[in-house]
Symmetry: C4
């Protein structure tokens, strides 16, 4: 660690680094699905079928991180200059995204455990909530520092972005509440959130 006084990396380099971390995290998800160990007189197809929670949590996490990548890009389009504090907030945001494979693995392993499934669902939702708060913190920093914004992005624009970011964390707070009742219901809700933010937007914008 060095006490560097030079200018922090440019916006484009920081975005490239962020893209790399997000691309790696999304691709590492598959490593958490382990090959089942069955003997020649046991049924592999049955064992593969039993892994459905692993496939489901893989898909939900993959699509969620994918949507976050789109959001991260939209955020950086609004950033004209990056300072050290913004860089640090972004690093913490990346840390919460890079952490996703762990709660995904826990959730997939314990979702059908009657006692522990709900704990796993809460862990998963808490990670997602922290990511949403990280995005909010980025926008918040832009609100107080117009000099960091890209040209033509005024206070009203930042406030609008914050209002549009809020449904994510709110949805995850609700999903965490549902997690305390039922882990499978929470998984459905986590899937619905990402479906709403991707497919939902598609029907509005892409046609």
């Amino acid at each position: 660690v060095t006490d560097v006084q030079a200018a922090p990396p440019t916006t484009s380099r920081t975005e490239a680094f962020s893209d790399a971390v997000i691309a790696i995290a999304i691709t590492l998800l598959v490593l958490e699905i382990r090959v089942p160990d069955v003997g020649p007189h046991q049924s592999l197809s049955h064992a593969l079928w039993e892994l459905w929670p692993k496939y489901a949590t893989f898909a939900v996490s993959f699509l969620t991180i994918g949507v976050m990548w789109v959001n991260h890009h939209a955020l950086f389009e609004r950033i004209g200059r990056i300072d050290r504090r913004l860089m640090f907030i972004n690093l913490v945001l990346l840390m919460t995204i890079a952490f996703v494979p762990f709660p995904t693995a826990v959730f997939g392993d314990y979702i059908d455990d009657p006692n522990n499934g709900r704990v796993a669902a809460v862990l998963y939702g808490t990670n997602m909530l922290l990511i949403g708060l990280g995005f909010l913190a980025m926008w918040w920093r832009l609100l107080g520092h117009p000099e960091l914004r890209a040209g033509g992005f005024d206070d009203a624009g930042v406030r609008q972005s914050i209002r549009r970011t809020l449904p994510g964390p709110i949805a995850y707070v609700v999903a965490i509440g549902v997690s305390f009742v039922s882990a499978p219901a929470a998984l459905v809700l986590y899937g619905a959130v990402v479906a709403y933010f991707s497919v939902g937007q598609i029907s509005r914008f892409a046609n």
Copy 2:
């Protein structure tokens, strides 16, 4: 997850992100080959020899993902503008490519299991079929939306691309059928498919 209304990432950023995911997935394949555990009085060379299905499935998956990377690039050369729906289809396509290490590991572990090998071969082929369908879905979206295409790429061009994409999924449907009969034969067929699409094209184009 955020309700972002800004423009989706550009074609070049999306392609760079896709390239990264494909490069990571192709390189993670090696992690599914575990070091054999033999004592000092057992033969490591024998144990390494027994791992031939892991090497074979590694090679077939590596080359297949490599050819898919070439195809993905050729596809994006035809895309002039990306919208949210195209981005979502691409994300699902990337998800099926990022999933490849899992069926590859299952196939390599079970190919010589008399009962379960065929199940593993079907799983492998199904993943490859889904990737082919993902490519078809991308082309299909371009067929209905000329405004998303790169300049000079007309309906006839898209239809030709679709016709050229079809042999892949068809070959995988055949290979899945063979998988129900013999897992090693299916592996040979999966290898033949990638050999046809890479070496075969080479003899036509590169000389």
Copy 3:
């Protein structure tokens, strides 16, 4: 390995390669946190709580590598031309950064072991010290070779960069000393070092 006499890769390609290695190392950290294995009548929440050293070492290593990425960028901003020796020193520096997931995993696993925790803390600090020495070696090479520097970066500038790099290795020597006494205290110190170099600088520069 080849005896290539062509020019070594350009600064920008070397920096892109370095960025990739650093982004991968930082994202692989999560793989060292294994899903706890508890039965349906045991408490997953307790087991997840017990993993706190894994979360803490993950966070400290993630932020430390993140700050190193910023420093690496600041270093390469000062490099105008790269020669083979600088490239080799950079490769060794990258090797020590790519190694971080291992000491991080050892530290997280053994920090609360009364006998072995201190050994794990020493290993961790030694890795960090080596990274700091790698940065120093890069600056040192620039000191003796003005022709490798970016325009307008004189001897005084390099000496200032060396003076600003020194606190890092010195802090890690102190932290290694503390490691011989208490592993948890060493972890707090490792966290304080990264907090000083990131948050500390923020309060000076970003407001």
Copy 4:
């Protein structure tokens, strides 16, 4: 897999993809060093010390892949246009590089096994030999196809590059021979090869 007739990816995209695969392979090496499992009354420092073959093979493989990255860049500097066959040869070359973590793990685990160490050393050297042959195949393709070369690179230049590439494979053939006698001696030789090609060149070029 698709029958694409569009132009293959450009040289720069192929090089970026290759860089990514090489950067990932080099960074994955650390995952093959597993945390030792010792109880509170056993010595972690002793267990860490016993892992020296893992550190040594990690370092040799890291530096070897690093030098190969430099060579790969020098090769692509000589390529003006890429055709499908060159792309396929490059893909096979990348496959052999992406495979390195496996022989590295085997070598590190078995080097001090009196019976199996030599087998592990032969496996390691064979992988390295195949990479060298892959580089030779790339140059060979350029020899027969001047239209693929970058401007100003004539037959004599390609022949010189081939002559300079040959010492690598030859050294690995020798090292494989030594592997049949002694695994530790082979490791020293593998380290000497990479030291010769990196440090050796440095003393000639960088001063």
